[in-house]
Amino acid sequence: MKSRQLPFIAGFLVVPLVLYVIYVVSPFVQTLFYSFTDWGGLTNTQNFIGVGNYVRLFQDDIFLSAVLHNAFLLVLMPVVTILLALFLAFMLNVGGRGDSAGIRGVRGSSVYKVVLFFPQVLSVAIIVVLFQSVFRTDGRGLLNAVLIAVGLVDPNRPVQWFNSPDLVLWCLLAVMVWSGVGFYMVLFSAAMQSIPKEIYEAALLDGATRGPTFFRITLPLLWENISVAWVYLGFIALDGFALVTGLTPDSGGGGPDHASELISNVLYRTAFTQGKFGLACAMGVALTVFSLLLAIVQLRITRRDRIEF
C-alpha cells in the first residue's frame, strides 16, 4: 500500500507546487534580494548596495506621506465598515418586531441582503467609473446635485471632492466603505443567525431591551468574526491601488499634489514608470512588514477566549 502511495502523492502535488514556486515563492524571495540592489529594471545588472534603498525610503517625502495616508485608511476604514455592517446586520436579524414568538429582523430583510451585497460583485473598474460620476466636480455630479438641491452647497461653488487635498482621502474612504459594507453585513448576519434563538428569548424574558441584548449577547458571540473581518479589511486598506489610479487626479493617480498617494501607487510608479526596480522592491518589503504587523497587532488586540455555542 505504502509503495503505491508515494507516486500518487507526488503526482498530485507536482503541478500545484511547480506553479506556486515559480509564480509566488520565487518572486517573493527575489523581491527581498532586489531590495538590496540598485536594479534599474531595463538592464540585467544589479549592484548590491546594502540598505541604501531603505535609507532612501525614509528620506522620500512622497513615500512617507503615502505611509501616513495608508495609516489613515488602515485605522478608519475597517472601523467604519465594521460598525456600519454590524449595525445593518443587527437591524436585519434582530431589529424588527419583538413579540412573544421571539425577535426577528425587519420586513424584507432577505431583499436587503441581496441588494446591499451588489457592490461586492462589481468589478473595481465599474466602481471607479460609477464614482467618477458621483463625485463630478461641477454642479451636476450625482452628489453635488443632491447637496445643492437640499441647500447644503452653494450652486456657484460646488464641492471639489477628489480635486480637494483636504477631501480626497475622505472620498476614498467613502468609496471603500460603500463597496465593503454589504459583504460584511452578510457575513455578520450569518454569524448572528447561528447564535441559538434560545439565548435571545431568555434575554427577552429577563426584560433586556435591544441595546443590552446587542452589547451583552450579540457582540461577544461575534467577536471572532469581527476580528477576522478586521484583518481582511486591513489588507484592503493597504492596497487601494485601482481606486487611487482611477479616481484621483494626476497621471496614475495620487493627486492632487500627492495628497492621496498610497504605498501601492508609489511602488507601481517607481517600478514601471521610473524604472527604479530596486527601490520599488524595498517598498514592497516595507508594505509586507506593515501587513504582517497589522495582522499580528489586530489579532492580539481582538483576541478573547473562544466562546462555544
Binding site: 509564480y23 523581491t31 473598474a125 457575513l187
Partner: protein
C-alpha cells in the same frame, strides 16, 4: 463546519400571528431601522440605475441634464461600445482567462489540498504552511520580479509566446498560482472532515487512490468546491493589477488582450479626450449587468458559500 452554516435559514420564517407588541415600544426603532436600511439600499441601487439610464442617452444629455430620462433611448451606444470601444473583445478575453483560471485552480487546488489533508508523508506540514503563508503576503511584494519571470518565460523557444507577457495562458497560470493559498487552505479543512471509513472501504474494494479521489472524495466535498469556486470566480473577475502589469502589449503589432477592468478604465481615461460618455456608460452596463444577473440568480449559493468560507 460548513454544512452547519450553509443550512442556516436565509429568510425569516413566518410565524403565526401572536399577541401584538404594545404599539410605540418598538415602532420607533422599526421605523428608524427601516429608514436606515432603505437609505443604504438607495445609495447602492440609485447610482447603478443611474448608470444604466445614462447608457441610453446622448453625450449632450449626459452632460447637460444628467438627471432626466433619455429623450429617445439610444441603443447605438451599446453597439458602439461593443465594437468601437472593444468591450466585446475585452469581455471575451475576461471570459477566456476566467474560465481557464478558475478551472485549473479548482483541479490543481483540490488535488493539493486532498493529498495534504489525508496523507502523511515527509514534508507535508512544510508544504501546507508554505501555501498558507501565501495568504498573508500582498501581491505588490511579488509584482516586480513576477513581471520579469513572466517576461523570461516568454523567451523560451516554441512555447514561449503562449506563456510570456500579454498571453492568456501566462496570465491564467499566474491567477492559478495566486489563488492556490486560499483554495488549498479552504479545501484542506474540508477534506479533513470527510469520514475515513469510506476511504478505507474504497481501498479494500480495490479502488486506486486516484479513483478514490475522483469518484468518492470529490463528490463528497461538493459543497466546499462550490463555495471556493464562487470565491475564485469573484476574485479573478475583479483582478485589475495582474492583468495591468502582465497583459501589456509587447509591440505595436501585438494584439490587445486586455480584460474588462482594464479596458473599461482605459476607456474612462480616454473619454476625457474623445468625450464619448454615452459609450463609456454603455460599456459599463455591458460589463456590470451579466455579473449582477448571475448573482441575483445564484445569490443564495453565493452568500452561503462566502459565509461558509469565512466563518469559523
Amino acid at each position: 463546519m460548513t454544512q452547519l452554516v450553509t443550512a442556516a435559514p436565509t429568510a425569516p420564517e413566518e410565524q403565526p400571528e401572536q399577541a401584538k407588541p404594545p404599539r410605540g415600544q418598538f415602532g420607533v426603532v422599526n421605523f428608524f431601522s427601516q429608514g436606515f436600511l432603505l437609505l443604504w439600499a438607495a445609495m447602492v441601487v440609485l447610482p447603478l440605475l443611474w448608470a444604466v439610464m445614462s447608457s441610453f442617452k446622448t453625450d449632450s444629455e449626459i452632460l447637460s441634464s444628467p438627471w432626466s430620462l433619455p429623450a429617445t433611448p439610444r441603443f447605438d451606444n451599446f453597439a458602439r461600445a461593443w465594437s468601437t470601444g472593444h468591450i466585446g473583445t475585452f469581455f471575451l478575453n475576461t471570459v477566456i482567462v476566467l474560465a481557464g483560471g478558475v478551472t485549473i485552480t479548482m483541479v490543481v487546488g483540490s488535488m493539493a489540498a486532498y493529498v495534504l489533508a489525508r496523507y502523511s508523508f515527509p514534508g507535508n506540514r512544510i508544504i501546507y504552511y508554505a501555501f498558507v503563508a501565501g495568504l498573508t503576503l500582498p501581491i505588490f511584494l511579488a509584482l516586480v520580479p513576477l513581471f520579469k519571470i513572466v517576461g523570461n518565460l516568454g523567451n523560451i523557444p516554441v512555447i514561449g509566446p503562449y506563456l510570456g507577457l500579454n498571453s492568456y495562458a501566462g496570465l491564467i497560470l499566474v491567477y492559478v498560482a495566486f489563488s492556490l493559498p486560499f483554495t488549498v487552505f479552504f479545501l484542506h479543512s474540508f477534506f479533513r472532515t470527510l469520514p475515513t471509513e469510506i476511504a478505507e472501504a474504497g481501498l479494500l474494494d480495490g479502488a486506486s487512490h486516484t479513483t478514490l479521489f475522483a469518484k468518492v472524495m470529490l463528490p463528497m466535498a461538493r459543497p466546499g468546491l462550490i463555495s471556493i469556486g464562487i470565491f475564485n470566480v469573484i476574485g479573478q473577475w475583479n483582478q485589475y493589477l495582474l492583468p495591468l502589469v502582465l497583459l501589456q502589449p509587447q509591440s505595436s503589432f501585438d494584439t490587445d488582450h486586455s480584460v474588462l477592468a482594464e479596458g473599461l478604465l482605459n476607456l474612462a481615461v480616454a473619454q476625457g479626450y474623445k468625450s464619448d460618455w454615452s459609450g463609456l456608460f454603455a460599456g459599463m452596463t455591458i460589463a456590470m449587468l451579466p455579473m449582477l444577473v448571475v448573482y441575483v440568480i445564484f445569490q443564495r449559493q453565493v452568500q452561503a458559500g462566502l459565509t461558509a468560507g469565512t466563518l469559523k
